[in-house]
């Protein structure tokens, strides 16, 4: 069964440094998402992306965050200047969209654990 893959599984970065989290969505999916889960807390929506532009973003997704689909397969989340509070598990997800069937579920990757020192 096709899977969403995320790399790396664990990223350790110094505060203030830029970090890029990478995701390869399922190949025929058109909608892409990032979520984060701070340790012990609920999973939170960050951003949705479709047709090479952001569809919606949450209050968490400020100017320090950006997303990009640099080629036909990768979907990246960049944090420009990391802060201690960015430490979390980051999940990528994707979903397909069929005409008249917008209820396609999101498929999640295994997540990238980001640790800011």
């Amino acid at each position: 069964e096709p899977e969403v893959t995320q790399t790396p599984s664990h990223q350790v970065t110094q505060m203030g440094q830029e970090v890029i989290l990478r995701c390869v969505p399922i190949s025929n999916h058109l909608y892409f998402y990032w979520y984060r889960q701070i340790l012990g807390q609920k999973v939170e929506f960050l951003v949705s992306f479709y047709n090479n532009e952001i569809s919606e973003k949450s209050e968490i997704f400020d100017d320090q965050f950006s997303v990009e689909r640099p080629d036909g397969s990768n979907f990246t989340l960049k944090i420009r200047s990391t802060k201690l509070e960015d430490s979390a598990m980051y999940f990528c997800a994707s979903s397909e969209a069929l005409t008249g069937q917008l209820n396609q579920p999101q498929h999640f990757g295994d997540g990238t654990r980001l640790s800011i020192l």
């Binding site: 909608y31 998402y33 569809s55 919606e56 917008l102 295994d110």
Partner: protein, 116 residues
Amino acid sequence: AQTVTQSQPEMSVQEAETVTLSCTYDTSESDYYLFWYKQPPSRQMILVIRQEAYKQQNATENRFSVNFQKAAKSFSLKISDSQLGDAAMYFCAYGSFIQGAQKLVFGQGTRLTINP
């Protein structure tokens, strides 16, 4: 804004028994979807079951079924014949659509332990 509440931080059940996980939500929308996701220690989020709000019939997937009460805004998950592999964190999620993209709002999660 939509909110999802799971009032049971932890649940445990004997293997082969039945357990029900609770979830309530708040929304002013009439068209939405509800999901249960499972997160085992391997941490991947796995879709367990989904329910369209416009459908009155409760969704069922093998040993997993839901009790969807739209007026009460309740969406509980029943696991029958519990197995050791069911041990995981279970998240209830509300799905709304913005320009075709689906935004999920998650509950706090319920950690389910299966006792052999």
